[in-house]
Structures are given as structure tokens and as C-alpha cells.
């Protein structure tokens, strides 16, 4: 028998009705919403989605963290509808492709991303309705478009609430980078999500403050900040921008935060730059807000050095491991059970085995499959075992360690998984680019390009002219990409790449034979 996210949420509303569920900033004011107020809005949106005929349909969301975003998301997944959270930072053509490929029939769109609307309406034929995540009614020039406030208000005319979904129903589709260069929609069921929330061994007092700084469309943020946070009755505070992460720690004074390793590395630079004569407690109060005790981290490898350094400032860093396909947590260190350098012990609902060194996972949080990608699903899920693409081992105490990758994805320290092929396909569009390989180096992406010799000869380009032209092309490419997909290193090769007998470029050799120059 499975559990629903709706069960977890309803239970929290019963227990924590008057506790603040969400706090956020509007200019310098802190606004807030209690668990019972949040639930009223969730039910109102859910009823209206049913009344508008979206039962069983897929609904996308585009926007950064906001109370309106999470209420809409909860309304979708606690009814009979499927939520498709998308990365608002992606180029318009990618978002349009994902709306179409996920068969979304409706969209919740942040007003900040309103510039996408025209293109989406023109190129997403299945889309029947767009709701802007705002109180004001939208410009009447846009067809099919209304406001979230209008959607909520319409529920007053509807007494029928959506039926409870079944535990095996798909609750959400989360897109993740694919090794073939095409992102894959991970289908997670109600039970997948609920089992992950309940299996992570962490508890805290209701009303504890959690500051959410990760992108909300990521499984780690969505499930562990929001769904897990709600299950415990925490007050989840929204970081309005990564520019203000440290300032907002001072504003909200969180006790617990989830971060990717890159955030820990950045904060450490600020800690380390302070005069060593100043007591560490004072530095920690200044940087972390004074109450921070625990940082959970995952999404990429963390150098264990930081665990010891942060402990000196009174903050415990606990590393975990997961992937969207596992809803997402597979293993985690906990305040009671931890070992530096490991990724913790597997969750009680995750069975682990190894095949040629690769970590395989089975259990109630393993996805149903990739949406409309039977071949990719069959490659990844074999007899119920999920092939993670990571190599690892378990020590004699039951702690899991990672020591390599099987698949081609680049994992940046901000937790983003980058498919090099996806970017290479875009870079190869420039006539001067003969061959290109994208690699992850120095915490960013480097493009290694062998110029097309015919173009070089035809235009009579010298070394400097080639460099200028390629850098200009990359600057143009970067402008259209979210920061994590930007190219920050350019190596112009003097020789073609070394290829295997099947004519494929040998990626590992590309790193060695003409290395990245030192910064």
C-alpha cells in the first residue's frame, strides 16, 4: 500500500495549521502564509483545475521559487493531474520543446517570464490555458491566458474537489539531461515521492526555519526543501536571488539549508577572507545569520575538506547522493550517522548492489520510467534495478562511496548535469567549428575546438583571427544560455581529435593531449 503526497500534506495541515509554512520577501517586507492558508489556496486551485477539465492532464510550470509556484504545484500533484516543472532559465526554444514533448495542456507561468508567452502560445498547439502566477488580470491581448488569482476565485463556484490519485499514478515529470543530448522526462509516482520524503531520516521542531536557495524545478529542492520541509512543519523561506543568499541568511536566520557543493565553496571563500583575529563564532553569525546548524548537500561531489572547515564555524555539513530518477535521494549522511567523504548510508527503502562497479538501486523511490522513451527506460531500468551511471562501493560500516562515472554526463559542482553532446551540437553550427568536444573543467565548461581547415584557408585566418572569431561565437552562444550551460574555457586545437576504431572521438584523451592552459 502506498502513500500520497496529499496524505502527507493533509496530515501537516492538521498538525501545524497556524505555523507559518512559507515566508518570502517583497522589497524589504517579509510576507508569510500559514499551513492552513496554504492549503486553502491549494484546494481552490485544485478544484478549479478539475472544473476546467484538466483531470488526468499534464501541466507545466515555469518560474523561480515563489509561494504561487509551490501552491500551484501542490494543487496539481494532490489532484489527478501531473506537474511538469521546467527550468525558467532555458532558452525559449528548449522550453517550447519540453512543453510539447511532455504533452502539457496547461501552463503556470511566472510574470517574470512573460516574454516567453507569445512564442509558447504560437508553438505549443496542445496548450489550452496559461495562468500567470500573479494577482492582477493579464493583458487581454493574450488569448487563453488568465491569472492565478482568477483561477483561485473561480473555485467559489465549484463544490467538487479532485479525487485522490492512486499511489502508482504519475505525480510529476522532471526533465534531466540525457547522454544522447536529448533531455529525458523522469516520471515519478505519488508513492515514489512520498516514500522518499518519509525515508530520509531527519526531523526537526515544527516551525524550524529552512532557507530554500536551490532551483525549485530540481528534484532535490522540490522534494527535500519543500515536500520534506512541509512534512516536518518547517517554515520554508524563499531566497529571492542567488545574489542575496548570504544577506538572506541574515534576514531569515535559518537553522537548516540544502545546498549544492558550489554554494559551500563560494561561502567558504567569504568565511576564509575574514581577518583570522575575528572569533569564528562572530564570523559565522555574520555570514550564516546566527542559527544555522546543518547544511545538507548533494548533486555533485563535495571535497571533504569543507566538512571540517565548516564544523569550526559550528555548521555540520552532511553529504547525500541521489538523482531525479530516484525521487531523488538514494543515500544520506544524517546528524546521528555520518562519515566524511562518504555519501551516507542508503535510505531504508533503497536496495543497493554493484555491477562492474556501477551502483544499482531498487526500491519504492525508483522512477516509473522516462516519459515516452521506452528504449532509454529499458537501458536504465533492468528488472527493477536502476543503473545510476555512477561507480562506487560500500565500506564495512555500510557507508556508500562514489569513485567514478560510467556515463558521459558532466556533473558540475552546482549539481547541474550537463550533456556535452547537447552543447556540442549547438556549437557545431558555426562554420569555423570543425570538431568540438565539451568538457567539465575548473568548475565550468570548456570547449575544445579543432577549426574547420577549409574555412580557415578560404578566409585566410591566422591564429589570432581564429581565436577572436571563435570567442565571439561563444560569447553569442553564452548570452542565450543559463549560466551553468555557458562555456568558460576555450581551447583551440592544433590537431584533430584522436578517434577510436569506430571513429568516435576519445573524450578522455582530448583532456590530456592538449590540456587547458592555467588561469
Amino acid at each position: 500500500m502506498g502513500i500520497l503526497i496529499r496524505d502527507i500534506l493533509e496530515d501537516s495541515v492538521k498538525k501545524f495549521a497556524d505555523i507559518k509554512a512559507v515566508k518570502w520577501l517583497k522589497k524589504k517586507d517579509i510576507l508569510e502564509r500559514s499551513y492552513s492558508e496554504l492549503m486553502d489556496n491549494v484546494i481552490a486551485i485544485r478544484k478549479s483545475l478539475l472544473a476546467e477539465g484538466f483531470k488526468g492532464k499534464h501541466i507545466s510550470l515555469i518560474g523561480t521559487s515563489s509561494v504561487e509556484w509551490i501552491e500551484s504545484y501542490l494543487a496539481i500533484i494532490t489532484g489527478n493531474t501531473v506537474a511538469v516543472p521546467l527550468d525558467a532559465g532555458l532558452p525559449a526554444e528548449d522550453l517550447i520543446d519540453l512543453i510539447n514533448r511532455s504533452d502539457s495542456e496547461a501552463l503556470f507561468l511566472s510574470p517574470k517570464n512573460i516574454s516567453l508567452l507569445e512564442g509558447i502560445l504560437a508553438e505549443c498547439p496542445k496548450l489550452r490555458k496559461v495562468w500567470l502566477l500573479q494577482e492582477e488580470e493579464p493583458d487581454s491581448l493574450y488569448e487563453k491566458t488568465a491569472s492565478l488569482a482568477g483561477l483561485k476565485a473561480a473555485s467559489a463556484n465549484s463544490s467538487t474537489d479532485a479525487d485522490r490519485p492512486a499511489p502508482d499514478d504519475v505525480a510529476t515529470i522532471i526533465f534531466t539531461s540525457g547522454t544522447t543530448g536529448k533531455s529525458k522526462g523522469v516520471m515519478l509516482t505519488q508513492d515514489n515521492l512520498a516514500a522518499n520524503v518519509l525515508s530520509v531520516d531527519y526531523t526537526t521542531e515544527p516551525g524550524s526555519i529552512l532557507l530554500s536557495v536551490l532551483p525549485i524545478h530540481h528534484a532535490f529542492c522540490l522534494v527535500m526543501d519543500w515536500l520534506k520541509g512541509f512534512s516536518l512543519g518547517t517554515t520554508i523561506c524563499i531566497n529571492d536571488s542567488l545574489l542575496h543568499m548570504v544577506k538572506n541568511m541574515g534576514v531569515f536566520k535559518p537553522q537548516v539549508m540544502l545546498m549544492v557543493p558550489m554554494m559551500i565553496e563560494t561561502i567558504y571563500k567569504r568565511l576564509a577572507s575574514v581577518d583570522s583575529a575575528i572569533p569564528k563564532k562572530a564570523v559565522a553569525d555574520n555570514v550564516f545569520g546566527g542559527n544555522l546548524k546543518i547544511i545538507f548537500t548533494g548533486g555533485a561531489h563535495l571535497d571533504p575538506y569543507y566538512i571540517g572547515e565548516f564544523a569550526e564555524y559550528g555548521v555540520e555539513v552532511l553529504e547525500g547522493y541521489g538523482m531525479s530518477e530516484c525521487s531523488p535521494v538514494i543515500s544520506s549522511n544524517t546528524p546521528e550517522t555520518h562519515k566524511a567523504g562518504s555519501i551516507g548510508k542508503p535510505l531504508p527503502n533503497a536496495e543497493i548492489k554493484f555491477e562492474n562497479g556501477e551502483i544499482l538501486v531498487k526500491g519504492s523511490s525508483v522512477m516509473k520510467g522516462y516519459y515516452q522513451m521506452p528504449e532509454e527506460t529499458a537501458e536504465t531500468l533492468k528488472d527493477g534495478w536502476l543503473h545510476t551511471g555512477d561507480k562506487g562501493y560500500m565500506d564495512e560500516d555500510g557507508f556508500l562511496f562514489i569513485n567514478g562515472r560510467v556515463k558521459n554526463l558532466i556533473i558540475l559542482s552546482n549539481g547541474e548535469n550537463i550533456s556535452p553532446e547537447e552543447i556540442e551540437n549547438k556549437l557545431a553550427l558555426d562554420a569555423l567549428v570543425g570538431e568540438v568536444i565539451v568538457t567539465g573543467e575548473d568548475n565550468g565548461l570548456a570547449a575544445r575546438i579543432y577549426p574547420d581547415q577549409d574555412v580557415v584557408a578560404a578566409k585566410g585566418l591566422d591564429e589570432e583571427a581564429i581565436k577572436t572569431a571563435l570567442q565571439a561565437f561563444i560569447d553569442q552562444y553564452n548570452k542565450k544560455q543559463p549560466t551553468y550551460r555557458q562555456i568558460t574555457g576555450l581551447i583551440i586545437r592544433k590537431n584533430p581529435f584522436i578517434r577510436s576504431s569506430t571513429k568516435k572521438i576519445k573524450r578522455q584523451e582530448a583532456l590530456i593531449d592538449e590540456p587547458l592552459p592555467m588561469a
Binding site: S241, L243, K247, K269, S273, T483
Partner: protein, 76 residues
């Protein structure tokens, strides 16, 4: 301390290059080794230190030390 030196001292927190060795053509990501998040955090520090408000979209277009200094001067 001049404003420019104060600015470069903040930059130096995130990289190995000393303030007096920085020049305006240096690119934050490629030459100074900033991660994308280092750059965001740096922009937040500029806001707090110089009491300015940055438009995130504009600020993220900045590539070099000189461009960031220009932006700072424009907003004051």
C-alpha cells in the same frame, strides 16, 4: 582606500589574483576563475558594500573587471 581598491579587494576574496595585479580586461570566469555562484555572491557584496541595487539580468551580462567597475559607477 579608493573605491576601486575597495572593489578589487572584494574581487580578490574569490580568486588568487591580488588587487594590485588586476587589470580591467580580466574576465571574471575565464581569467579570475570565478564560478557562476562566486560571481552572483560577488554582485550581492557589491550591492551591500556600495549601497546600490543591481538588475540581475544586466549584472549577469558583465564579463570583465572594467565592465563591473563601469556598472558600479553608473549606479552611484
Amino acid at each position: 582606500m579608493t573605491q576601486e581598491m575597495q572593489f578589487k579587494t572584494i574581487v580578490a576574496q574569490y580568486c588568487e589574483v591580488k588587487p594590485d595585479e588586476m587589470n580591467n580586461d580580466m574576465r571574471f570566469r575565464e581569467d579570475l576563475g570565478f564560478s557562476s555562484l562566486d560571481f552572483m555572491s560577488f554582485l550581492g557584496e557589491l550591492e551591500d558594500t556600495f549601497d546600490i541595487e543591481l538588475e540581475e539580468e544586466d549584472a549577469l551580462k558583465v564579463l570583465t573587471v572594467g565592465e563591473a567597475l563601469e556598472l558600479l559607477e553608473r549606479l552611484q
